[in-house]
Amino acid sequence: MNDGPLIVQSDKTILLETAHPQATEARHAIAAFAELERAPEHMHSYRITPLGLWNARAAGLDAEQVLDTLLTFSRFPVPHPLLIDIAEVMSRYGRLTLEKDPVHGLVMRTSDFPVLEEVIHARKIGALLGPRIDPLTVVVHSSQRGALKQLLLKAGWPAEDRAGYVDGTPHPIALTAGDADAVAPKDGAWSLRPYQDLAVENFWAGGSGVVVLPCGAGKTIVGAAAMAVSGTTTLILVTNTVSARQWKAELLRRTTLTEAEIGEYSGAAKEVRPVTIATYQVLTLRRGGLHPHLELLNDNDWGLIIYDEVHLLPAPIFRMTAELQARRRLGLTATLVREDGREGEVFSLIGPKRYDAPWKDIEAQGYIAPADCVEVRIDLPQDERMAYAMADDADKYRLCATSESKSAVVEKLAAEHAGEQLLVIGQYIDQLDEIAGRLGAPLIKGETPVKERERLFGEFRRGAVKTLVVSKVANFSIDLPEASVAIQVSGSFGSRQEEAQRLGRLMRPKADGRTARFYTLVARDTVDADFAAKRQRFLAEQGYAYRIIDAP
């Protein structure tokens, strides 16, 4: 019996005791094949999935090494059926390979005749294949590379893609990184942080994939560094125009790119330059049954495509992406949880997860601000309780989430944190209007023009505006480094990633190393409380324990 840090469960989860002296070593060893599922204080849990095992195979790990890792670090016997299952699953990878044939173009080869027969006779897969060249080889339509890989993955015979990537149009890009203070980068003097470096390295070695980093941990820089390594024309897909502008500013600061080399492709401007930043919205714009701007993806010889906030990738881009398998793809996200459960598709179309770090790890290294999450329980007044009890199910959440008593609590909390940069975030405009009125603070919502938004964000960053009330437009990608207190009054039901992204707004390290404070206001004994519990799950699993207090 050894005394390792792992406990391997029969339900295919691995528990990692973080206080164990070997914990770090074991974490690195299992990260290659198991997905981090939860990272609370003492026991992190990882899950062994076929996808994870195949990614490990793609990264050059074999079953023997995986089993050895489990047996070495496990405290108790590892369930034998699980070991057999791992070996069996891993042996399925690479029976089929996609290769470039000098004569026939893209082909699929196999070392195992029956497997090829099986997939050729599968209804959906067969349609994507061309003529059979010999018993072990079949031609693949090159436009179907992504779709084929996705279907093969579903069929349980993941193909090893050896066909490589197109080079793209070369366009030299370099980082302006110096070697000064890495923790708090100042203008003109910064360097890649070790984990950013590792993330880029992992990504480039793997070809395509997703990098998962907490909010505020510098994903843009990972993108810039990937562009520098690639040295080709690049397409960057972002969620909205404000975020596009932020990317542009950041690229100008971090790379040798000049204003003239970076184009914006959004509702406002349609510039195609060597580095083009496009919004998901404009690409998915539909006119007369067509997506007039989707061609942008394929008509230019991009060497690299970066998907910012890949967890938000909309369906048409999913489909387009399936046809872009010959180009390198980098996905960036902080929260790879999709409420539609399509995480698997992100992995199969963009690529496997190349780098992932628990939020608390990065926090411990000082790259993101520590955060203190507080759930404030509010008792609804008697009349609101009656109204809530009588309401239709469809209206219940709105009723309890927008309770008047919340506004009063916001006022009190704002007074408590007077002088700090404070954000109030909510879902319902009426409620936000009211709160903005009470606090005398500006409100940014969907109808606020981009110019006005940028002005307000700019003033907030400078400290001229201390308090900002924002709707969900500020959920993602908005960089507000000095915000240190956020009050969430309502959200879109039980969305876990929204909660995490909102906390993310506070996570840029503060100049004075302050702890960020995140309040979420919850009406007791209502569906608001149920949704809150669901929303908090992601963060709780990342180790952010919510303190619960009663309303002041």
Binding site: T13, L71, F76, P77, P79, A540, I548
Partner: protein, 829 residues
């Protein structure tokens, strides 16, 4: 002297050591203890006794015994050298020790002629051996004589054949026997046979029976083919006709033929056994690392105990109903499988195992399988495991039969009952152990730190060598045994473990010691986390896990216990009588880390909400037309025991049943109207847990292995001054030695002797003096010639009456053989 008498004197003459060995090798001979040597010999040579003994023989022993049964002339026996002739590739020196083993098992006797001359020892098979081996030993057919006796019309056919072949008169069967055995070899026999004859005969190598269309056809006579109406057969007709014409194939009916033994032997060049296999098959057994094996096996042990605990929880909550057809229905089993989080097929085994270990038993009153208070739960884990494993070893059921067949066998149904299951299981495990041990001996070539992990086919191959007779019916059960052994942790990664070896050898103390080393100590603390989970880093002590399961929902499956606190789970705990402070104290006492604030808040918040409503029992409601009336009733109610509680100014409830309340109100001078008639009388059973079944004697509070040990100890105490260290075998031996070897005409051996005498008389066509008891109880002595003995009856020819008579075997008191036959009796036509 008859073979049985020979066996009696043989046994009586054996030294103690040899007898003890016989009794240990064939323990069923002393169950119940045999009265004297005659009884012992009768049992040893009875059909059932022989069958069991033959099941234990290995391939060379069985081959040799078959060769002896076929080749040795009745009565005189055969020498080792003669047997070596009948067995291919075997020397007499090789066979001698095997023959001695068979002799030790009382399957082979030393012929009495040994004593007369100093020649090589002759061996005789015991009585009934030929019957137990079947009609076709070693794949050989019956002899001409036997065929002529058994098949109607065969003798006439043989006479015809003998006639055409120009053989001397007399019994045609004997003549044909002499004719066929006179050939030097198959080549001489088939010298002028048509093409394809040898190929056709080669098909009879495996068995003597064959299918031939129109086997009873007229094949014409030698030299005059095609005569009469018989048309020429188109296919292979030449060879078949040739063989039929010469009596080398005997038609059984119009579709089947049999190759006579004489012909079969001649084709085999006189060899009864053509492929002698003195050693087990050599197989290349794959090896696994010892560490991998131990990992798998110890994991399985822990998983088994965990699963069994959950199974008992599941059955306790929902007892399993039996179907009218027997067993438990699929739906109930599916629910159990869901609770256990295992495949359906695995849940069959767990349920069967729980029943084997009597952890769940069938309540005959309700036809429900219920968890019994068996005393299994409080044991420590090593003893729990041994309880299960020892129950499995001796269980007369084959769980692998469940779910197979059509209609499929239900879980816990009678169809899976197999009385021979323990024996099959034991032999299978012995074979596994021998494979393990054998490979260990040859292990120098294999790298160290590995153990052999044979496949099912390899085990089956070995089984077929060690126990060829049962091998045919074990194939399916064996796969089940091996899969079950893996689930029990007797094997790990298909390799036998040290624990498995100890259990197979029934070394319970050794097993407990091995288990103690592998099962880790239970942990007494949990890690509480901010996401409202508690994780036990290992096997949690039962007290702790029971309380935690009340406070929180168990999650996941594996060694470590993961529990999630929810509002609902805490409400459940509060309803069960826990308090907020009690819960917090418990958590603080058993948490290795500080209790996280969110959990603290959740407990306090849930507790503060608990009890905002109160539920009281009420079985009757009183409503009054006006508040004044009710107030009046309440005022007098206390005095007249109405047990009323007002719930509104005009409504009150009472715990009394409506009818009783109405009666009492009537007594108090009110006149209530009873709405909706009289409510049904409610049996006053308090809500809550169903009553536990009262412990009965059929529910053991003792593990099977302990019970075995205890009964052995009791036996020792009861047995007076003489304490037999070797147990029952020694006791049996003492009993045998204390009595005369044989009292003629009495005891267990008598029917067997009568039977043997009669059969001998039939064989030699001799007359006997038969003493039988008539219906009036008077003995009668008759001179008869026995014809057949079958199904407990004797058919015999009575010369005086010139007719056949039938006697029941159990009425026959004595049989005396009249040696030398008698004149004036007719032979058989």
């Amino acid at each position: 002297m008859s073979t049985l008498q020979l066996l009696i004197s043989d046994l009586a003459a054996r030294p103690d050591s040899s007898l003890l060995r016989l009794l240990s090798l064939r323990p069923e001979l002393m169950d119940p203890p045999a009265a004297d040597f005659a009884a012992l010999a009768a049992r040893a040579s009875s059909r059932a006794g022989l069958s069991r003994a033959l099941d234990r023989l290995n391939e060379p022993q069985l081959q040799l015994l078959t060769a002896l049964a076929v080749a040795a002339p009745a009565g005189s026996g055969a020498t080792a050298a003669q047997l070596a002739e009948a067995v291919a590739d075997a020397s007499a020196a090789e066979l001698e020790p095997l023959l001695e083993q068979l002799h030790e098992l009382a399957l082979v006797l030393h012929s009495p002629e040994d004593t007369d001359d100093a020649g090589p020892r002759r061996f005789l098979p015991v009585t009934s051996l030929r019957e137990v081996l079947g009609a076709h030993p070693a794949g050989l057919g019956r002899g001409y004589v036997e065929l002529a006796d058994a098949l109607p019309g065969c003798r006439d056919r043989l006479a015809g054949i003998a006639g055409t072949l120009g053989l001397p008169g007399g019994d045609p069967a004997a003549a044909l026997h002499a004719h066929v055995t006179s050939f030097a070899g198959p080549d001489a026999l088939l010298a002028d046979a048509p093409d394809g004859t040898a190929g056709l005969l080669a098909k009879f190598a495996a068995g003597p029976m064959g299918r031939v269309a129109h086997a009873l056809r007229d094949v014409g006579r030698e030299g005059r083919p095609g005569e009469g109406a018989a048309p020429a057969q188109p296919d292979a007709g030449g060879a078949v006709n040739w063989l039929l014409r010469r009596g080398l194939l005997i038609p059984l009916d119009d579709d089947h033929v049999e190759l006579p033994r004489e012909v079969g032997l001649l084709l085999r060049h006189g060899r009864v056994v053509t492929h002698f296999s003195p050693a087990p098959p050599v197989v290349e057994v794959a090896r696994v690392r010892t560490s991998l094996r131990d990992n798998a096996a110890t994991g399985a042990v822990a998983a088994l105990l965990r699963t069994m605990g959950r199974l008992l929880d599941s059955v306790e909550n929902a007892p399993l109903a039996t179907l009218r057809a027997g067993g438990v229905g699929v739906r109930a089993v599916r629910a159990v499988a869901r609770d256990l989080d295992v495949e359906m097929a695995q849940s069959y085994f767990y349920l069967e195992l729980a029943a084997m270990a009597k952890l769940i038993t069938l309540d005959p009153d309700t036809s429900l399988w219920k968890a019994t208070a068996s005393g299994w739960r409080p044991r420590d884990r090593a003893e729990q495991w041994l309880w299960l494993a020892s129950a499995w070893l001796d269980a007369g059921r084959l769980p692998s039969l469940v779910g197979t067949g059509s209609p499929a066998v239900n879980v816990l149904a009678g169809e899976a009952f197999r009385p021979d299951a323990p024996a099959l299981r034991a032999t299978s495990l012995q074979v596994l152990a021998s494979l393990h041990g054998g490979a260990a001996l040859h292990g120098d070539a294999a790298e160290s730190g590995t153990v052999p992990a044979p496949t099912i086919e390899q085990v089956l191959d070995h089984y077929a060598w060690h126990h060829p007779r049962p091998a045919r019916r074990i194939a399916k059960a064996l796969a089940g045994f091996l899969a079950e052994a893996e689930l029990l942790g007797l094997t790990g990664a298909a390799a036998l473990t040290d624990l498995g070896l100890a259990v197979i050898g029934r070394d319970w103390d050794g097993a407990l010691a091995l288990l103690a080393g592998t099962l880790p100590e239970p942990v007494e603390h949990v890690l509480l986390q901010g996401d409202l989970t508690a994780v036990a880093p290992g096997y949690l002590s039962p007290v702790l896990s029971e309380e935690l399961a009340l406070l929180a929902e168990p999650e996941g499956r594996g060694t470590a216990g993961v529990y999630r606190f929810t509002r609902a789970s805490l409400q459940r705990a509060l309803a069960a009588g826990r308090t907020a402070t009690g819960i917090m104290d418990f958590l603080a006492a058993h948490s290795a880390t500080p209790v996280p604030q969110p959990l603290e808040y959740l407990v306090a918040d849930t507790a503060s909400r608990h009890g905002r409503f109160t539920v009281v029992a009420a079985s009757a409601v009183v409503s009054a037309r006006e508040p004044g009336l009710l107030a009046e009733l309440l005022a007098v109610g206390a005095a007249s025991g109405l047990q009323l509680t007002a719930v509104s100014p005009t409504v009150a409830v009472s715990a009394l049943p409506p009818a009783e309340l109405a009666r009492k109100m009537l007594d108090a001078g009110h006149s209530p109207a009873l709405a909706g008639g009289v409510a049904a009388e409610e049996p006053g059973r308090p809500a809550g847990r169903p009553r536990r079944a009262a412990p009965s004697t059929t529910h053991p509070a003792m593990a099977p292995w302990e019970a075995a040990r205890l009964s052995a100890a009791e036996g020792q105490e009861a047995g007076d001054a003489v304490v037999h260290p070797a147990g029952p075998a020694a006791a049996q031996l003492a009993m045998l030695r204390s009595r005369p070897a044989w009292t003629p005409g009495r005891g267990e051996a008598a029917p067997a002797l009568v039977r043997e005498q009669l059969q001998r008389a039939i064989r030699t066509m001799a007359d006997v003096w038969l003493t039988t008891v008539g219906g009036d109880g008077r003995p009668e002595r008759l001179r008869l010639r026995p014809v057949t003995v079958a199904e407990g009856r004797v058919r015999a020819f009575d010369h005086e009456r010139d007719s056949e008579r039938v006697f029941s075997m159990h009425r026959i008191v004595d049989v005396d053989l009249i040696e030398g036959g008698s004149a004036g009796t007719k032979g058989r036509a």
